[in-house]
């Protein structure tokens, strides 16, 4: 009897592995992807990058321009995330099972969050391009909508996980709704929420490059401009500044997390 259970488990794992394997092979055949050719071209790509894709002395002259754009992108990412976080908090309180006002508002706010979360920032930027044109607004709102959806979801889970018991205790003392939120939900969830916001800022700075590329604003646009005009040395300088800034932000947010948690 118990031996059967183990045998069945083994069979299931084997089956799963087989399905994944078949799916891979089938998709390779359909897309006519040549695996051998793919791997052998990696050294060639590296060789090209090493001979072309590095900053030269001349490209350093462009650094001030790049930094201006980088700063704009960083600030837009941070602004989009923080404003989205405030809105997400309100929706999360309404959508969480612990703190929802009633089932109707709960489903509505969760529904809205799901819609926003499941539309990718790249889609948002293409869609918003029509309304706002080639401006930093487009990038801002694309990041804002994406962050809002994701943060709402993350906040709902944080609230349900962390503050359920103390919410019950405060309700039992006769405290009213807003009091319970501000005295129990906020103090118990704030570290995790800040942690999520920091994570979102990091993600958004990465996304901002892509969004900029698509909407023609910020650092993404700068990269695209130099890359398309075959100025690979300057393009590589852009990439390096992006990497450095992301590392800095990661370092700062790790430090903040250590202090608050």
């Amino acid at each position: 009897m118990s031996a059967d259970v183990f045998a069945k488990k083994r069979r299931n794992s084997l089956l799963l592995l087989l399905i994944v394997g078949v799916a891979t092979i089938v998709s390779i055949i359909i897309t006519e992807y040549n695996m051998a050719k793919g791997f052998t071209s990696v050294p060639k790509a590296v060789q090209w990058a090493l001979s072309n894709f590095y900053p030269t002395k001349d490209s350093l002259a462009k650094l001030p321009d790049i930094l201006v754009k980088l700063k704009e992108t960083l600030l837009i990412s941070i602004a989009a995330t923080t404003v989205a976080a405030v809105l997400a908090f309100i929706f999360a309180v309404l959508g969480s099972n612990t703190t929802k006002v009633n089932r109707f508002f709960g489903s509505i706010s969760r529904g809205i969050a799901i819609i926003f979360r499941n539309i990718d920032v790249s889609v948002w930027s293409m869609v918003l391009l029509f309304s706002f044109g080639q401006s930093s607004f487009t990038g801002y709102f694309a990041l804002f909508f994406g962050s809002f959806g994701f943060l709402t979801r993350a906040f709902i889970e944080t609230i349900d996980e962390v503050s359920g018991s103390s919410v019950e205790a405060l309700q039992a003392t006769g405290a009213n709704y807003l009091t319970v939120i501000s005295q129990s939900v906020i103090p118990s969830t704030i570290p995790q929420m800040i942690s999520w916001v920091l994570f979102m800022i990091e993600t958004n700075i990465r996304n901002a490059t892509l969004v900029g590329l698509l909407t023609g604003s910020g650092i993404g646009f700068t990269f695209n401009l130099y890359y398309k005009s075959l100025n690979y040395d300057i393009a590589s300088l852009v990439v390096i500044t992006i990497i450095i800034s992301i590392l800095c932000i990661e370092f700062i947010s790790n430090y903040v997390r250590r202090v608050i948690l």
Partner: protein, 262 residues
């Protein structure tokens, strides 16, 4: 003595076919110490939560201090809740806040939305919180964060939070189920003392039969959502206890009046 709490024919249905309580009726006099005992899943927690409507009863009447609790609107219910302190098995403190902040949370039911949301407490309330914490032996921990306390200390903060409400009734849901014997004794001694010297009525859910017998004036036995015993702690027989737990003679560990009875 006047009757403080009356529970009449209270039933609670979860979903379609889970009946947590059926026709529960009992009353509690002012200043009484009542223990509710019974097997896990018998409906003890639900019963306690029906009293302050943390859970809404499906039918029946609950009369607390002349108020018909089951008929109250939201605002009136909040007012009644300020007079009922609640203590939880898992303490339900806000772990990141200090002991005194958690204690002062007991005053929030008396505050306007603005004062409550901003956490504005008067000097008197702060002094009272300090006084209560001192009575409970927590004067050294006042500014510590709650997550640095031991289980027994956390539960004492829970009691302080309930006491600062200036309640007429304390509802305690398994207050010692997660504590070691030593801390359990401290908590039960405090609860008994609150009842005797402050005249606050205490209703407590318990798993430990011995503890219930030792501390309570009255025992209410619950099994499968029904009251199967209601009488003084002195009058209970080992047969009654076996009936409450639905067990056979000799299958339970408890101590009735000094000699080991099974």
């Amino acid at each position: 003595m006047t009757t403080l709490l009356e529970v009449k024919n209270v039933s609670k249905q979860f979903g379609k076919d889970t009946k947590a309580l059926s026709n529960v009726t009992f009353s509690v006099k002012e200043g009484e110490f009542v223990s509710v005992i019974g097997p896990s899943g018998a409906g003890k927690s639900t019963l306690l939560r029906c009293i302050n409507r943390m859970v809404d009863a499906s039918s029946g009447e609950i009369i607390f201090d002349d108020a018909y609790v089951h008929q109250l609107n939201k605002k009136e219910l909040k007012k009644v809740r300020t007079k009922i302190g609640m203590i939880f098995q898992h303490y339900n403190l806000v772990n990141r806040l200090s002991v005194i902040e958690n204690t002062l949370h007991g005053r929030l039911g008396y505050k306007s939305t603005l004062a409550g949301a901003l956490g504005l407490y008067s000097e008197d309330e702060k002094l009272q919180a300090a006084r209560i914490l001192q009575i409970l032996g927590l004067e050294e921990q006042i500014y510590k964060r709650s997550d640095q306390l031991s289980g027994g200390q956390k539960q004492r903060v829970g009691i302080a939070r309930a006491l600062i409400q200036d309640p007429k009734l304390l509802l305690c849901d398994e207050p010692i189920a997660s504590l070691d014997p030593n801390s359990s004794k401290i908590i039960m001694d405090h609860l008994r003392n609150i009842c005797t010297s402050m005249g606050i009525t205490v209703v407590v859910n318990l798993h430990q039969v011995d503890v219930a017998l030792k501390y309570s004036d009255r025992i209410i036995g619950v099994n499968s959502g029904k009251v199967v015993f209601d009488g003084t702690a002195k009058s209970i027989t080992s047969n009654d206890i076996h009936q409450i737990y639905g067990s056979d003679e000799g299958k339970l560990i408890f101590d009735l009046g000094g000699s080991h009875v099974s």
